[in-house]
Symmetry: C2
Subunit: 124 residues, 2 copies
Amino acid sequence: MLELAVLEGLWGHGGRDAKSVHAEIGVRRGISLNTVQSTLERLFRKGLLRREKVSHAYLYSPALQRKELMERLIGDVVETFSDGRPEPMLAAFVDLAARVDEENLARLERLLAERRAQGAEDAP
Amino acid sequence: MLELAVLEGLWGHGGRDAKSVHAEIGVRRGISLNTVQSTLERLFRKGLLRREKVSHAYLYSPALQRKELMERLIGDVVETFSDGRPEPMLAAFVDLAARVDEENLARLERLLAERRAQGAEDAP
DNA sequence: GGAAAAAGCCGATTGACCGTCGGTTTTTCG
DNA sequence: CGAAAAACCGACGGTCAATCGGCTTTTTCC
């Protein structure tokens, strides 16, 4: 998917113009600068990119970081399938974590412990 | 989304025909039986439904339970955004769990503990 | 056994959305 | 001012969901 490739090309860079994005991912695909421009425009309209006119060209930057987008998309799915209750979501998380490697359950526990320790800081 | 509504209408029922599904969710929407039939057919082709011919009519049933579908969709997102490493996925899970209610972190920990206890049963 | 009803199958349309450009207008700057 | 760069406009082909009409096949049942 070109849109995703474009986003990938933007994450970690602070503002790139169409030409630069095209140079990185458009040329390889043999597509025109115009195509990349349209894609940037569509992503902008969808709110996934911000842009700022610097002298002559727009500089595009991600409105969401990769992590945030992933969370939004997962959140969309969760919202669709968990009717208000949190359990289905949590159960799915545990299942998915364990899917590839049981070791992930330990990792998840560790993350969780860290998060809770941090969250409890101001309420001892 | 009609496809989702149809799936919802199928989960929890063991095999329904087009007519029955239409009666439940098609009539309310003022759409024809044909439309529901097409939707069932498309879901079947996509592998989301099974079907079995019983005398004259097909009886459709979900190929995946609601929970499984949710997991598959989340898994798709995760696969797209976590390039092999498990951490981004796990971090997203923790964030999403905490999003609505911090209490979910505790719930998640409990689920996790249960799962690990169970998983460790045959390897003490 | 044959007609009527039921169900399935085929193809068509519409409306989004994506990828892809070509051509035109606007902007910049030497 | 005039050329080059960038943006803008609009179009087209492809995919996919929703929607249906009508033809074909299968069932039903008098």
